[in-house]
């Protein structure tokens, strides 16, 4: 049987629904030692901001039960260096690139998008309004409906390429945010970014993460991610890229059933850099066993 794993999200066409999540594969250089990036649905760059950011002081990460907290703080090379050094590299890898943008003002989002819009290799933008580790652009925008609306609207004006807004799970009605994205012309949402969390050292009484709080990722948050995706899927007609705790192909299928058109994988890359390959193979086999011709038949195929 011939299985069609390709997926369309807005104008973005990807050869399979496995996307490498922002912040978990840098700009592709290191993960390319394990994966031929052209065979992966897409890669999302580490969040790019106008100016370079050195990120938060260490300790930046800590392991938690079936999860991890991180407060990298959007450490990134900045727009200029990204264009000069990272884009050529991504071109060499022949990968489908989604550029993730983080910013502390609407103008910054727009400026980054407009500048990057000229690069053919960038097929879509993921707008990160939900990083829990920086105040502006994260905790402030991500949980404010009107800010998310404005950002979507203005970024929309700056590009014709696919716009994906990456939503925060740290609010009570994620579907309201998806609605605003849709209303303001966004093509898709990705859900979820990390949950705010913390941990203390009981000897020093200090937070283990220097930034005090961090973002929780990994299998621990999978049930929460699935519920958020299901909520959006049941209420709003907009493509969803699902993520949060995906570890294997079964999780990919589960996310697609819950409403995702494609998925992103983050934390798992740290542990198993071949995970993307294994998932592509696993979902193809699942399709064969279940006589599914097009993987997108799975999207939102839940039986409630």
């Amino acid at each position: 049987m011939d299985i069609n794993l390709s997926v369309n999200i807005g104008k973005l066409k990807i050869c399979n629904p496995i996307i490498l999540a922002s912040g978990t594969v840098g700009y592709g250089e290191e993960i390319a030692k394990f994966l031929e990036l052209s065979k992966i649905g897409a890669i999302i760059t580490k969040s790019i901001s106008l100016k370079p950011r050195k990120g938060n002081p260490p300790q930046r990460i800590v392991e938690t039960p079936s999860g991890m907290l991180n407060a990298i703080g959007l450490a990134n090379v900045g727009l200029e260096e990204f264009i000069t050094n990272k884009i050529p590299l991504l071109e060499k890898f022949n990968s489908t690139v989604i550029c993730n943008i983080a910013a502390s003002s609407i103008e910054e989002y727009v400026e980054c998008t407009r500048t990057l819009n000229d690069f053919d290799i960038i097929k879509a933008f993921e707008i990160n309004v939900s990083c829990p580790n920086v105040r502006e652009g994260g905790l402030i925008f991500g949980n404010d409906l009107s800010a998310v609306g404005k950002i979507t609207n203005q970024v929309r004006a700056a590009t014709e390429k696919t716009i994906i807004i990456k939503l925060s799970p740290n609010n009570s009605q994620i579907s309201e945010f998806a609605q605003v994205v849709k209303d303001e012309g966004g093509d898709a949402v990705s859900a979820i970014n990390t949950l705010v969390g913390t941990a203390f050292d009981i000897n020093t009484r200090k937070p283990i993460i220097k930034n005090i709080t961090g973002g929780l990722s990994g299998p621990a948050i999978k049930p929460v991610a699935l519920a958020k995706i299901l909520e959006i899927s049941r209420k709003i007609n907009i493509p969803i890229i699902g993520l949060g705790g995906i570890m294997n192909w079964k999780d990919v299928i589960e996310f697609m059933i819950a409403g995702a058109s494609a998925v992103q994988i983050g934390t798992v890359n740290f542990i198993n850099p071949f995970a993307a390959y294994e998932m592509i193979e696993g979902i193809a086999n699942y399709c064969i066993s279940n006589s599914i011709k097009n993987i997108s038949e799975l999207t939102a195929s839940y039986q409630l």
Binding site: E30, K33, K54, P57, P58, R60, G67
Partner: protein, 253 residues
Amino acid sequence: MSKIIIENSIVESNERINSNVYLLKVTSPEIASQIGVGQFCNIKVSDTDYPLLRRPLSICDVEDDKLFFLYQVVGVGTEILSRKMKGDRLNILGPLGNGFNIQDDFETAIIVAGGIGIAPFPFLIKKIMNKNIITYVGFKTKADIIDYGLKNCKYSTDDGSLDFKGTCVDLLKSEGKTLNSKCKIFACGPNSMLRNLKEFCSDKNITCEVSLESVMACGFGICQGCAVESKNDDNYKLVCKDGPVFNINEIKI
């Protein structure tokens, strides 16, 4: 830079050395053929999602297709590791990081190791057998002492239960009057020890390379979790990719 490999290695032995230190020997031909002194591996200690992250361990020694790791049981991951037995499989990612530089021009290698900080040195010593080697190694107490793979050891114990009373840096200081620019120091141990050592090295103007530890998620440069402050510019270095071995003046400890 060498290729990074993921290998399903086979446990050959996992011997208890003292109350909570083990010597693990695995067959891992691909990694063994590539790994250099001072590099490390990132080990998946269970085949479930718990514990979630791999555990970084320095390469302690290499013999043909066998890798050796010397590790201390401190938490859940190393505890699980300590229960592995001959025949068990271990998923190992490596070789990782930049190791010690043994190409430069030195005649005497001064090794300074605090506690389990001795782990990277047996392999180093093997590779620099043509040099003079003096090893200063400090433990809490006599019962903790390990001499696996070391050479020309001078011991210190915090409680004075064997030989010099104090830290290995104290011992080095007390004996180190004769050090000169033909010496190079290789060090590994707790940060407090390394800070002490740094002072000493700049006083004496001796080159010193240290192997650092940091909590790590990936071990190969994609998570940016292992940042350490750089001395030269205002940026961070990654322990896993830029290190774990740094010139002691390169980084803020």
